[in-house]
Amino acid sequence: MVTSQQVELLAPLSGVLMALDNVPDPVFASRLIGDGLCIDPTSQVLCAPLAGVISNLQHTGHAISITHANGVQVLLHIGLDTVNLGGKGFTALVEEGQQVTAGQALIEFDADYIALHARSLLTLMLVVSGEPFVAPSPGGVLVETGQPLLRLQLGQAETVAEVQAGDTQRSQPQRLPNPNGLHARPAAVLAQAAKGFAATLHLHKQGESANAKSLVAIMALQTVCGDSVYLSACGSDAEQALKVLSELLAEGCGESVVAVAPEAQPVAVPEPVDSNELRGVCASPGSAFGHVVQLTESVLQISELATDQRHEREQLQQALAGATAQLQTLCDTTQGKAQAEIFNAHQELLEDPGLLEQAFGLIEQGKSAAFAWQSATHETATLFKGLGNRLLAERALDLDDVGQRVLKLILGVQDCALELPDLAILIAEQLTPSQTATLDTRKVAGFATVGGGASSHVAILARALGLPALCGMSPQVLALANGTEVLLDADQGQLHLEPDPQRIRQLTLQRALQHQRQQQDLQQAAQPASTRDGVRIEVSANIASLAEAEQAVSLGAEGVGLLRSEFLYLERSSPPSHAEQVATYSAIADVVGTGHNLVVRTLDVGGDKPLAYVPMAHEANPFLGMRGIRLCLERPHLLREQFSAILASADLTRLHIMLPMVTQLSELRMARQLLEEQALALGIKTLPKLGIMIEVPAAALMADLFAPEVDFFSIGTNDLTQYTLAMDRDHPRLASQADSLHPAVLRLIATTVKAAHAHGKWVGVCGALASETLAVPLLLGLGVDELSVSVPLIPSIKARVRELDFVACQALAQRVLGLESAGQVRAALQPLVQPMTELES
């Protein structure tokens, strides 16, 4: 039924109008959330565009929804990527559920703070409920708060008939991987996908539920990272809907999420079956049987006041000197380089003028040395925890740790080394670097902590030791008696309190085999990877930092096959300076050394991950737009600067430069000319090797024309797959079909290798396919010379190569090229998997 009723929306802000199409944010510009308009604000109070109820107010204060009595729902979103500010700069003036009048002030914001700390202030007003409207003429038009802007035509919103019949089905509970929970953008992606199904769909979080087809309802759940959620569905396509949406949730709903570890995807955590089981998040994979050992930090008695200021000052100074000496000893004796770096940083912290000033200031006010130091460290740690950044919050633990060390010295509390029983499962609120440094790790079987996450210290340590670890346990775990027998199953996210003896035997055996296998791989990691019939394959690393370079070398990487240079450019507001770039590349080159290759890929960004300081026009389809070398050639100064910084490490390693997204020969030639010009300017005579990524089918098909002009090819299987199959690898329904083992992709690899070898050039694979154990025999058989893999997998990929027979691989490759589908290819490869490798899953 169509009525002629209309609702008027007022301008929520004063500012300059911008058409939604021009908003440099794909989710908003594509109207995924809803149609509307954008204002670049010149005022600092967001006002209600219509009367209604506040149906959702994000706890970070940057977004708010209002629902009008007649069903019209409007979302207001201040700024782009402002969720990352964690609420700083925003003050909500209303509450959820409150009735507001049109024009009422809703949120006050600090425009200067946001301008300096977020990507943009561009503010969106979107009609989520979908009523059509006539847009005003955009472009440089100034509007004033409260001025009528849009006239909505009611009664024309699309309504989808929902099927209610049948039983309700539920998905497995899963942890949200999104760093900021399901905020506007991931929520929109989820709702959009949910709307594609006829079934009624709900998203549940701890007894609360929301219609999964409603963006606002999902946002109103106020989820945060790590929340356990599940879906329920009722209707004919319920099963399919649950499958697709659970996968979408696990993948982050279009947001790039940090995987816990390559083999440790966030696991679906089942509901507690009984009270004999506690749940947590997998921080390091594996499982172990052992005995509970509770680690508690002793509570120190501190008196607040002191009489002799000079004495207190001296005490603090002595304790600081003592702590510095202790940390130096730890630095010198600890085995892991990462650990030593942490203690080094702790030492630096002890010299921090800000902290010292605060502590000594408190002593001057008559406080005791212990009280002053504790207050100073606590305050700073709390501040970091409150910034809403998970990584920084986890680092605040280091601050507490070093604080405690000094405090013990002031109070003369002795740390006694902990005597551990064999097979200890360590349980703690949180493990600090100091605690773990003194542990006898041979006796530890696993970790379970209440705090922490995938990047916490305990997770890093556990992964380095190859021990299972669970984080985010319920505080109940701290009540377990010392010595209790438990089964820690990190893969399933469970801690079993009364484990079944048979399951223990099974796990012990499995763990022994797995351990043996890992140790064996690790021991041989430094050995070259040659097939049984003597064909040598280079196994190198994909890295994005100096730390990864060091780790890679220690795990036996024969150089770096892909250095993603983007890490130098992302998450900052200005380009990296020449000096910074030179320092970074040189440090990595130094680690790789002159005996191996270092392949630096030039900046590979595009409309999908724009840089704050490189304004880019919005693109309808960024993956088919100005990406990689296309962007760099359009802005040659970026490429020139990068070349000149990379060239500075020419003597430190076997330097290779690789161009991403090359499609045309002219792109290669232009880049080579720029490189030659830079080398000439720097007086460098021997040019580094120059190669291209093969990730666009055009480049693979014309590899015979590219080969004479390059020094090497490296195949980026992820992009090559999505461009060959025309399937977005993040698409909720297509992702499972976008398989790099599709024969079409394999044929392009074969074509590339053939062309390269005809001209005496080598071919590497740096995409995810190279890190897949299953694919190794196939890639070898296709003639690939180098496998560049993710760092932790280097030993196991090298070990896999050693098990293979090259001639057999070649025969296999020929057979597989004639198959019909990725499924058939997988089926053909499966029998080759050694029985032991199934333990790696």
Binding site: D40, E341, L349
Partner: protein, 91 residues
């Protein structure tokens, strides 16, 4: 309140997390815009921020001429305390 050493500490632990101080970019404002802001002598700092804005700090805010700025092609102006002004210039 966080000084260099503390920053170095975080940087050592999470190298990609701490953003370096942005170098002061050299921006040349249009002549007419400059005049509307009270001349180059009146501008203490200028910085391109938040994709669509130029943030300037003026020594004397009273010398800013909003009318002249609009004529010079700056559609939006946000005047803030401390002589800070955002010129909304678009993408």
């Amino acid at each position: 309140m966080f000084d260099k050493a503390l920053k170095a500490f975080w940087k050592a632990l999470t190298p990609d997390l701490v953003v370096d101080e942005p170098a002061k970019p050299v921006l040349t404002l249009d002549k007419t815009v400059l005049a509307a802001l009270g001349g180059s002598g009146n501008i203490k700092t200028e910085q391109r921020v938040a994709l669509t804005r130029i943030r300037v700090e003026l020594a004397d805010i009273t010398r800013l001429d909003p009318q002249a700025l609009r004529v010079a092609g700056v559609p939006g102006i946000l005047s803030l305390p401390g002589g800070v002004v955002h010129l909304v210039v678009g993408l």
